[in-house]
Structures are given as structure tokens and as C-alpha cells.
């Protein structure tokens, strides 16, 4: 073991800022990152054991002990549960003879939950040794576990491949694109290199002006004007700068970046290169969530092809001194790393804890150098804006929301998938487009967004009304909104809090417990009102977007579905859930006495 560890450490030049890569390699090679590995890594990298340990413990896909020869991570998202996850888990438990959250006695199979893996349009889904399995059924589970027992390679168990590039030699995945609607920007015809060849004839002022003219705003959800971000970064005096692409698509219910990276990755890389040219960066990093690891080989090949075509590397597109290259940084399972400053920390090999701002990443980002971080979709659009001009882009969409938007639509509808729409479409139009009837609610922009009721279905998808990074989860009337949806989302936030800010760490747990009290019919109306107060505290006192929005599933459903809370709560002063009989039963049994409830 020591020899292979040594090889891994040396492969990464004993560089502590590449600790993520080192631990990823160790986990892949040994099936765990145990204490022996931690001690060796620490001594070789010249950092403390705690530094290594805290990175290991932060990420979901690093495990201290072996997680089984075959590790099954079941997607635990709302949509997975809607589509029959419970039955699939039951089948795994029965066939593999182990409980969810544990490894089978013979060490063969580990079965765990994981947060949304970006497959909401093909649930129930799971990651098995890093490979994606979609549309699982108890019958398929039986086959899969039989494969485990026959010592089959996971790759061999995938016999049908998805559409488009999913079936290409370097991906060979069963994932489907479900690209239901192509629009004018992301999925329109394009010849790779057109934008870069145009850009080398322009100066940075002209490019920033073009991007500003286009009116493009960040596609990750926050909607910050991209031109402005670039302008800020460009004006920083520091000579070394970086471009990063945020492909940590972790918001449950979002999966559009996966389809972009599968079908048009060159568009994204070209956008990053344009950004590099504009701000004066020589290096770019694509931060790819671990769940999309199955795309790495393919993406590396795309990068290689771009180098061959002189669209990446030295003197790009024939322009002397225009050097730029891109590397892929894999995550290891942490929603909060989608927050840009946490993403930077993660890229530097640390726990993905958001930084205090200011300074902003455009001032002090990766390695404390000015850094532009953009979403996958934003960067793809940049390429098209350079090709066709800012004015063309501005002409699409609404006044404040230029261009098109990819929606990841899933849940209770006939045609889940990725849709490229023009901003301004109403929720009702969207529901008609995907064949959704009998809809109780739409979760706009994922758990951190808003849950809206049918009276609001006339609202428009646009920054001026319903802003979204693209996740649209449709919840039919047959669902129990609080139990099936809101509670799952709160579980998610409790799990994904980095723990740095007390309100996010503690209050999200208390809010979840209070929600359970509501669901159990033991809460008072006043306790629901208290939840609203706590929610405003979460917005006020947490450092990053995760913490500030972690109470949204509860707060927005109280706003828009108050009647559901009212139906379950009592208009009394106080209700206790405490029950003496159940509370003393265990201890009385242990000491051997009969509970005396007359006490």
C-alpha cells in the first residue's frame, strides 16, 4: 500500500494545493482514505494530519473505511423518491443482504444514500463505483447484484448506452440527454474556433463591451452581469489571474450542465479561453462535480483536440503570446462547493468552506489571485455572443433577461428533460410544454429557490420575476408536499451545511425538527410563525448562499401553501410531543423494573 501511496503523492509533486487529487486517487486505488494514508500524505506534503483529515472528512465520497468492493450510492433526491427509490433500496437490501448506510458483512457491497446526482429526468438512479445507473427497478437491481456476486466489472454491467455522446467510446454511459428542445444559443449550429478566431482580432475593451451589450447574466442562478464581473477582474493590477468554470451542478433537480458538457463541451472551453484572453489569465480550471466523473476521459480528449487545433495551449489561433490552458478539477461530493468561494477552497485542496467577502474572487480568488468564475452555461453562451454579437443575444428573451435559458425539468410530468427556452416563458406554458397535468406545486430553482402554487403559474421565468438556475421540479397533486418534498429538502440542507456558521449548522436542524412536529400534527400555529422568524434569521446571519437559503423550502411553502400548515397545526398555546411511557421504556427494561407512570 505504501508504495502505491508514494507513487500517487509523487505524481502530484507533493503539492498540498492538489490534495483533492491525491485523496481522489487514493480513494480510487484503495477504496478508502484510511488513517495510515492520511499520516503518510501529511508527512510527505509537509502539512499536519488534521489538515488532511479535515479535507477527507468534508467530502462525501472520501471514506475512512472501505465502502465495499462495489459501492452503491443511491440518489436520495425528491424526484428519485417520487419515482420509486424506496422499492429499489429494498431490493438492494434484500439482494445484497445489507442495510442502507452500511457495507455487507462480506465487504462486497456498500449501500449508501447520496444527494442528487443530476439524473432527475431518469430516476431512480444510483452511482455504482462511479458509473451512473439510471431508471432502476427491483428487477434490474437483482441483475446488478448478481453481477457483483459474479465478480463482474461494473463497466460490463452497462449494456445499453444513452443517446448522443453518451454512447461514444470514451463515455459509454447509460445516461440519456433527454434534450427535448434546442434553442437559438446553447444548442444551435456552431463551428468550433469561430469565436476564438474572431476574438484574437479584438482587444479586451471591445470584448467586455460586447459582453456587456449582450446583457448576459450568470446562469448559475445568482444572475450577476458577466461583463461587469470580467471588467472588475480585468482591472485588477495583479499579473497572474485565473478563469474557472463552475460545473459543480449540485442543486437538486438540475442537470442541464451535464448535457452541455456531454454534447457541446468545446463551446464551454472556448468560452473559458475567451475569458482568459480578456482578463489576461493563462490558466483555466473546470471544477467538475464528482458525480460527473464518468465524463472526465471524454472531456480530456476534447481538451486535447482543442490543443491540436491550436485553440488551446500556446499562441492560440495564431496570436503571439496568447497562451491559455485548462485542467479539470474533480470534486468529491459537496453541494456547498457550488458556492464560488467554497469551490476555490476546494480547488486549493481544502474543505469547501465559503470565504468571507470581500475580497471577492475577482479580487482574490484561486491562490489569492484575481479569478473569474462562471457557470458552464454562461461560458457556452459567451462563445455564441462573440460569434454572433452582443446585440443578437440581447434581442432574445426579455428586457432584463437576455438570451435563452436551459431548464432542467423533472418530477410529475410526461416529458422530463432539458429544454432551451427564451426567458419570459410562463410556468403554465412550461407545464403545457412538458405535459404536466394535475400540478400541486412547482419548485423553481431547486430547494434553495421557491415553491410556488397554481395561482402563481402565470408568472414568468426571468430575472425580473422568477429567477432560476434552471431546476424545475414539478410536484403533482398526489404528493404530500410537506412530507415528500419539504422534509427531503431540509434533510438535504442539514447534510450539506459546511458547519461554519452556527445558524446554518444548528437552526436548519431545529427547523427540520419543527417541520416534523408539524407533519406529526403536534405543532401549534404559533410554532409555524416562529419558523418564519427563524428563516429571516437564517438569511441575516449566515455567510453564504447555502445557509441564507437553507430555510427556503419551509419559508416559501409557508408563504404559498399556508393552508397545508394550518390544516396540521393546532390553534392552542402549546403542544408537547413528550410521552413519559415511551421515554422511560428502554431504561426500565435495562435495569429490570416496571415503569411507574404514577410518579
Amino acid at each position: 500500500m505504501k508504495a502505491t501511496l508514494q507513487t500517487i503523492i509523487e505524481k502530484h509533486q507533493k503539492d498540498a494545493t492538489r490534495l483533492m487529487d491525491i485523496l481522489l486517487d487514493i480513494q480510487a486505488e484503495h477504496g478508502s482514505v484510511n488513517d495510515e494514508a492520511i499520516a503518510l500524505v501529511a508527512s510527505q506534503l509537509g502539512i499536519s494530519k488534521v489538515d488532511v483529515e479535515q479535507t477527507r472528512s468534508f467530502y462525501h465520497f472520501f471514506t475512512k473505511e472501505s465502502a465495499g468492493k462495489y459501492t452503491v450510492y443511491m440518489n436520495d433526491s425528491v424526484v428519485a423518491n417520487m419515482k420509486g427509490k424506496a422499492e429499489v433500496v429494498k431490493a438492494f437490501e434484500k439482494e445484497a443482504n445489507c442495510k442502507l448506510g452500511s457495507v455487507s458483512a462480506d465487504g462486497l457491497i456498500g449501500l449508501f444514500n447520496t444527494a442528487c446526482i443530476g439524473m432527475s429526468d431518469q430516476e431512480p438512479a444510483a452511482l455504482i463505483n462511479g458509473k451512473v445507473f439510471t431508471n432502476l427497478t427491483p428487477a434490474k437491481v437483482k441483475e446488478i447484484v448478481a453481477g457483483f456476486k459474479a465478480d463482474k466489472c461494473v463497466k460490463e454491467m452497462i449494456t445499453e448506452y444513452g443517446d448522443g455522446q453518451n454512447s461514444s467510446e470514451l463515455i459509454k454511459s447509460m445516461v440519456k440527454n433527454n434534450l427535448m428542445k434546442k434553442g437559438a444559443v446553447t444548442f444551435s449550429e456552431y463551428k468550433t474556433g469561430t469565436a476564438l478566431r474572431k476574438v484574437v482580432e479584438m482587444n479586451a475593451d471591445q470584448i467586455v463591451a460586447e459582453v456587456k451589450t449582450s446583457g448576459i447574466r450568470g446562469r448559475g442562478g445568482a444572475g450577476f452581469p458577466t461583463g461587469l464581473k470580467w471588467d472588475f477582474c480585468r482591472k485588477e493590477a495583479e499579473p497572474v489571474k485565473y478563469v474557472m468554470c463552475n460545473a459543480d451542478e449540485g442543486e437538486p433537480g438540475t442537470f442541464k450542465d451535464r448535457v452541455i458538457l456531454t454534447e457541446v463541451p468545446a463551446l464551454v472551453f472556448e468560452g473559458m479561453t475567451v475569458a482568459g484572453y480578456t482578463i489576461g489569465a493563462k490558466q483555466g480550471i473546470l471544477y467538475l462535480r464528482h458525480e460527473y466523473k464518468y465524463l472526465v476521459k471524454y472531456l480530456d480528449k476534447v481538451l486535447e483536440d482543442l490543443r491540436t487545433q491550436n485553440l488551446l495551449g500556446k499562441n492560440i489561433a495564431g496570436k503571439q503570446g496568447f497562451d491559455f490552458d485548462i485542467r479539470i478539477q474533480l470534486g468529491a461530493g459537496a453541494y456547498v462547493c457550488g458556492e464560488e468561494s467554497a469551490l476555490i477552497e476546494s480547488c486549493e485542496g481544502k474543505r469547501g468552506e465559503p470565504r468571507n467577502r470581500p475580497p471577492f474572487p475577482v479580487q482574490k480568488g484561486y491562490m489569492n489571485k484575481p479569478t473569474v468564475i462562471n457557470n458552464v452555461e454562461t461560458l457556452a453562451h459567451i462563445t455564441k455572443i462573440i460569434e454572433k454579437g452582443g446585440a443578437w443575444y440581447k434581442g432574445i428573451g426579455t428586457k432584463e433577461s437576455a438570451g435563452t435559458k436551459l431548464l432542467s425539468i423533472s418530477g410529475d410530468c410526461e416529458k422530463p428533460g432539458v429544454y432551451e427556452i427564451e426567458w419570459g416563458m410562463t410556468i403554465q406554458q412550461m407545464l403545457d410544454m412538458v405535459g404536466a397535468k394535475d400540478v400541486q406545486a412547482v419548485q423553481v430553482a431547486g430547494p434553495s429557490g421557491t415553491c410556488i402554487n397554481p395561482k402563481q403559474f402565470g408568472r414568468a421565468i426571468a430575472y425580473e420575476d422568477l429567477a432560476t438556475g434552471g431546476a424545475m421540479t414539478i410536484i403533482g397533486n398526489q404528493r404530500n408536499l410537506l412530507k415528500d418534498v419539504v422534509h427531503n429538502y431540509m434533510d438535504f440542507f442539514v447534510d450539506e451545511s459546511c458547519g461554519s456558521c452556527v445558524p446554518c449548522r444548528a437552526l436548519s436542524v431545529l427547523m427540520k425538527e419543527r417541520l416534523e412536529k408539524v407533519i406529526n400534527g403536534h405543532a401549534t400555529k404559533n410554532e409555524v410563525n416562529e419558523l418564519v422568524e427563524w428563516g429571516s434569521f437564517m438569511k441575516l446571519a449566515n455567510r453564504c448562499g447555502l445557509g441564507q437559503t437553507a430555510s427556503n423550502p419551509i419559508i416559501t411553502t409557508i408563504q404559498n401553501f399556508r393552508e397545508k400548515y394550518d390544516a396540521l397545526t393546532k390553534d392552542t398555546d402549546y403542544v408537547s410531543e413528550f410521552n413519559m411511557e415511551t421515554a422511560v421504556a428502554a431504561s426500565c427494561a435495562v435495569v429490570g423494573r416496571k415503569p411507574n407512570l404514577e410518579h
Binding site: D573, Y574, S576, E577, F578, M580, T582, A583, V584, A585, A586, S587, C588, V590, V591, G592, R593, K594, P595, N596, H599
Partner: protein
């Protein structure tokens, strides 16, 4: 104006919050001008002899007796105040909440270093007169309605004093930063 009547108790606590109350020093002389104590370790009155205005609760509930006392306080006091970390969150005793109850009892009475010497026969306390251990340590507000919470471990004397004076006089509570900062 007649004096307000105050009762206090320490449930699953360490009496540190009561000690903190005594840290009001000479203001204790002002306090007895303002209030009269009923059931409390301070005057050693064991049972309620009249209806009280304010009940001060230290500690959470780890056994059936704590629950009983807390419910008595709710019955006999107009206002209940949870004082300190243990009453509000369970505090240090709640560290056992993640551990199986059998493991806790075995450690305390059978396996722990002092248990082996002090309890060689390995007797588990099961007399009917003894309080029954709860499955976990509960914060007070999960058992009865609590009106106010004074955080701290222990809350500093000034906080308890300011809160008591505000409750008794009906004036607004003064909460300068120094009184509620904890680190």
C-alpha cells in the same frame, strides 16, 4: 406594589446557573426587596406553598422526576424562564443522547472504573422509589411551554439580574453586548 414571588429549581444541571444568580453580589439585598422566594434551593422551601409569578429553571430533563418538577413549576408559575444551556438545549448531560441507553447504564453501574469498585455485585438501580431515566435528555421547552430563555453556560449574573428586574418591574430588558457575548 406587592412583591413578586419567585421559585427556582435545578433539574439536570450542575447548579452553576444558581451560582451565577448568587454572583449578583450585594444586589442580593436589592433582590429581596423586589421579590419573595417560594420553592427554591435558595431558601430550601421544598414544595410550592403558593402561586408564583416567575419560575426559573436550570437544567434539562434527564429523568422522570425532572419532568414531574418541571410540570409542577408550569402549574404553579405564571412565567417560566429557561436559564442556561442545559435548560435550553440539554447541555452537557445531553452528550449521552447519541449513545444507547443500555450502554450508558452499563458504563455507569457495571463497566466504569468506579463502578467496578463501588458496585462489585453489579446491581442496577431499579427501586420503585427512584426516578426513571429518560431515553434522552430533553430541553425544557419540549416538555412544557417556556416563556423566556436566558442563554449562557452559565448566563452571567448581570443577564439574570437584568432579566429578573425587567420581569418584575415590567421595564424593557437591557441587553448590552457584554452581557450576552460568550467568547
Amino acid at each position: 406594589m406587592s412583591k413578586k414571588i419567585v421559585a427556582t429549581t435545578s433539574l439536570a444541571g450542575c447548579f452553576g446557573c444558581h451560582m451565577s444568580l448568587l454572583d449578583i453580589d450585594e444586589r442580593i439585598l436589592d433582590l429581596i426587596e423586589l421579590v419573595e422566594f417560594n420553592k427554591s434551593p435558595i431558601d430550601d422551601i421544598k414544595t410550592f406553598t403558593k402561586q408564583c409569578d416567575i419560575g426559573i429553571i436550570e437544567g434539562g430533563c434527564c429523568n422522570s422526576e425532572n419532568v414531574h418538577v418541571l410540570k409542577e413549576f408550569r402549574k404553579n408559575c405564571k412565567i417560566l424562564v429557561s436559564v442556561g444551556e442545559c435548560a435550553i438545549m440539554g447541555g452537557l448531560p445531553a452528550l449521552r443522547n447519541g449513545i444507547d441507553i443500555k450502554e450508558c447504564i452499563d458504563e455507569a453501574y457495571l463497566n466504569g472504573p468506579t463502578a467496578k469498585i463501588g458496585n462489585p455485585e453489579g446491581i442496577l438501580p431499579n427501586d420503585d422509589e427512584l426516578p426513571m431515566i429518560l431515553d434522552k435528555v430533553y430541553p425544557c421547552h419540549e416538555i412544557v411551554k417556556i416563556d423566556y430563555f436566558l442563554p449562557g453556560c452559565a448566563p452571567r449574573a448581570d443577564l439574570i439580574w437584568n432579566a429578573l428586574v425587567a420581569l418584575v418591574t415590567g421595564n424593557a430588558l437591557e441587553l448590552p453586548y457584554e452581557v450576552v457575548k460568550f467568547d
